[in-house]
């Protein structure tokens, strides 16, 4: 019995060993070749996949592309609207206080790449009679010739001085009114129609900007007083035709010797002719001679931290007409200057402003010296509340002698 069990155990052991040995037997050459071929195929597949996959650099580029995917591409043609508006309240010595809509002045821009831009500002105002007046403040096509030259054609703001071309918008002007002589009937030209070349250039560390223009020039107004004609005013507001055919040439050179300070010199020269009579019949004018028309100006602007100081001087001189024209008369000179200081309190939205202006005209009733002081509250940098009081000193009884309280809310958009 024991012998049988031993024999069975030995048989089982031998059988199991034989089976396991058979299972662990080395593969044949054919099997190895087959395996190798399969591995080679897998390797080729991996190589192909690797070729198709991105490198780290490519992944970075893709990431950036994805990041930019939501951004709008820059269009070649751009349309843009900006501008400013103001409303206010005026109370002068001679008139009851009244609310007023000062100006709504939308500015339209149409631009094609960095080659050309059309700029136009319309000016809507509400007159004392409630009627809306519309004016084309300027309309120019600006050709960006190169980095230093822009050719401007059309009706442009006069580059004589700084106030008219840069400071007059109500959200920029720190007081509710323009300095006497810098308005629409003063000593400084407002706008002109013609061609203008302007731009900027560096001179080492000093920066400079310039504007030169050729234009139709102004027209003159005469008045009949005390039995004779005399010059009443210069209309320099961009006439669409040149009645006397004589052009005016002028310009301004600005120098910025260091950041925050600019000094400018301006001049214009040409001819101008009387074309209308103040409160009279202009059709009686006949044989009016061309008069010399000369303008000179100087301006400065200094920004030092929260303090701003600026000033400007303009003189317009019109020569005599000694011919046989109906309104032949002596020449006349208009002169004005102002200095303005402003201080913005640190970490505050309050700003104080003071300005002194002296306007001399050939007519005593227009002469005016003005002190204007004001306080501004800057809701934002382009939304400003202004409160100002003007101390005006002129001929007794004239409008130029009336003090005034002014409030204004201006918004540059």
């Amino acid at each position: 019995m024991k012998t049988n069990k031993l024999a069975s155990t030995i048989m089982f052991t031998v059988t199991a060993f034989s089976v396991s040995a058979a299972a662990l037997a080395e593969p044949s050459v054919e099997e190895l070749a087959e395996r190798l071929e399969r591995m080679q195929q897998e390797m080729d597949q991996l190589r192909q996949q690797l070729k198709k996959s991105a490198t780290k650099e490519e992944v970075q580029v893709i990431k950036k592309d994805v990041a930019k995917a939501g951004e709008r591409l820059q269009a070649d043609n751009l349309v843009h609207i900006t501008g400013y508006a103001d409303v206010g309240y005026t109370d002068s010595e001679s008139e009851d206080g009244s609310f007023n809509v000062g100006t709504f002045a939308p500015i339209f821009h149409f631009q094609y790449r960095d080659l050309v831009m059309l700029e136009s500002e319309l000016e809507f105002t509400v007159g004392d009679d409630g009627k809306t007046e519309t004016n084309l403040e300027y309309l120019t096509i600006d050709w960006f010739i190169n980095d230093y030259m822009v050719l401007v054609g059309g009706k442009f703001l006069s580059p004589i001085g700084q106030f008219r071309q840069n400071f007059h918008p109500s959200w920029i002007n720190k007081l509710p009114s323009a300095p006497p002589g810098f308005g629409h009937d003063g000593a400084a030209p407002v706008s002109d129609v013609g061609l203008q070349l302007r731009g900027g250039f560096p001179i080492g560390a000093v920066r400079a900007n310039y504007a030169v223009y050729l234009s139709n020039g102004p027209e003159l107004i005469a008045e009949f007083e005390d039995g004779e004609f005399e010059l009443d005013g210069v209309e320099a507001e961009g006439f669409g035709s040149d009645g006397d055919g004589e052009k005016v040439m002028g310009g301004r050179l600005g120098i910025i010797p260091f950041a925050g300070f600019e000094l400018g010199l301006s001049a214009a020269s040409g001819k101008a002719t009387v074309t209308s009579i103040e409160d009279g019949d202009s059709s009686v004018l006949n044989g009016e001679g061309e008069r010399d028309y000369d303008v000179i100006g100087a301006d400065f602007n200094w920004q030092y931290k929260a303090f701003n100081l600026r000033g400007e001087y303009v003189e317009t001189e019109v020569g005599a007409d000694t011919g046989s024209g109906t309104a032949a008369s002596e020449g006349a000179t208009w002169e004005t200057w102002y200095t303005q200081g402003a201080y913005r309190f640190p970490q505050s939205k309050w700003e104080l402003v003071a300005r002194y202006t002296d306007f001399d005209s050939p007519h005593n009733s227009q002469d005016q010296q003005q002190w204007s002081i004001g306080a501004n509250y800057l809701f934002t940098n382009s939304f400003i509340g202004k409160l100002a009081y003007e101390f005006n000193d002129g001929q007794t009884g004239s409008d130029a002698n009336q003090d005034a309280l002014l409030l204004q809310m201006a918004y540059g958009f």
């Binding site: 070649d76 190169n146 401007v152 931290k305 970490q347 939205k349």
Partner: protein, 205 residues
């Protein structure tokens, strides 16, 4: 004297016109790439030095789509074409959000020198902060704080200051906010920390 000046002007008028036409005729190259990339740091400087010449500084973020505004200002303020491109690049940088605090603004890549990564502290301050904060740290523009003031801005904790620099900050009463990362989204947290260390070392008592 005035007559003499005008006589001279009239004499050279025709020659000047001829010269002008010649110059115009020789200028026929326009930008092939539009808008061309400018220099971020120079743009920041030009922005701070030119805008306040006429009006209150506006927030750079006010002009997110301000390309046309800048061409308008180029004409008005007598900027050169290069200055205009620099400011455009600056505004694009300011108005491009930084993603996860890492580099994300490919648009300004041309404006930032490769070597900027190596500039730390002083260099970063000079290229990105100085236009508004001025070289002496006293503030070059209205509402910009004076770093040198006793009990001033630099008495805050470093972590708070760094957070303000990274995320942008507008103090009470100020009309202009400092843009996140000084407007340059390419600056890393480490870069800004280095700039902060420079500011504290240079301007705080």
């Amino acid at each position: 004297m005035k007559n003499l000046i005008w006589k001279c002007v009239n004499t050279v008028r025709k020659k000047a016109a001829l010269l002008l036409l010649t110059v115009l005729a020789t200028q026929s190259l326009y930008a092939l790439d539009y808008p061309e990339a400018g220099d971020f740091a120079k743009g920041s400087k030009a922005w701070s030095e030119n805008c306040a010449r006429c009006h209150n500084m506006r927030n750079p973020t006010d002009l997110k789509d301000g390309l046309t505004s800048l061409f308008h200002m180029r004409v008005r303020a007598g900027l050169t074409g290069q200055e205009t491109r620099d400011i455009v690049t600056f505004l694009k940088g300011v108005n491009t959000r930084s993603r996860n605090g890492s580099v994300s603004n490919a648009e300004v890549k041309a404006s930032v020198n490769e070597s900027q990564d190596k500039l730390l502290g002083k260099g970063i301050y000079e290229n990105n902060c100085m236009a508004c904060h001025s070289a002496d740290g006293r503030g070059g523009l209205p509402s910009v704080p004076d770093f040198t003031r006793k009990n001033g801005r630099l008495t805050k904790k470093d972590s708070e200051l760094l957070s303000n620099i990274i995320n942008g900050y507008q103090s009470s009463g100020s009309l202009m906010a400092m843009p996140p990362r000084g407007g340059n989204s390419q600056l890393s947290d480490a870069d800004l920390n280095a700039a902060l260390k420079y500011i504290k070392a240079s301007f705080s008592e």
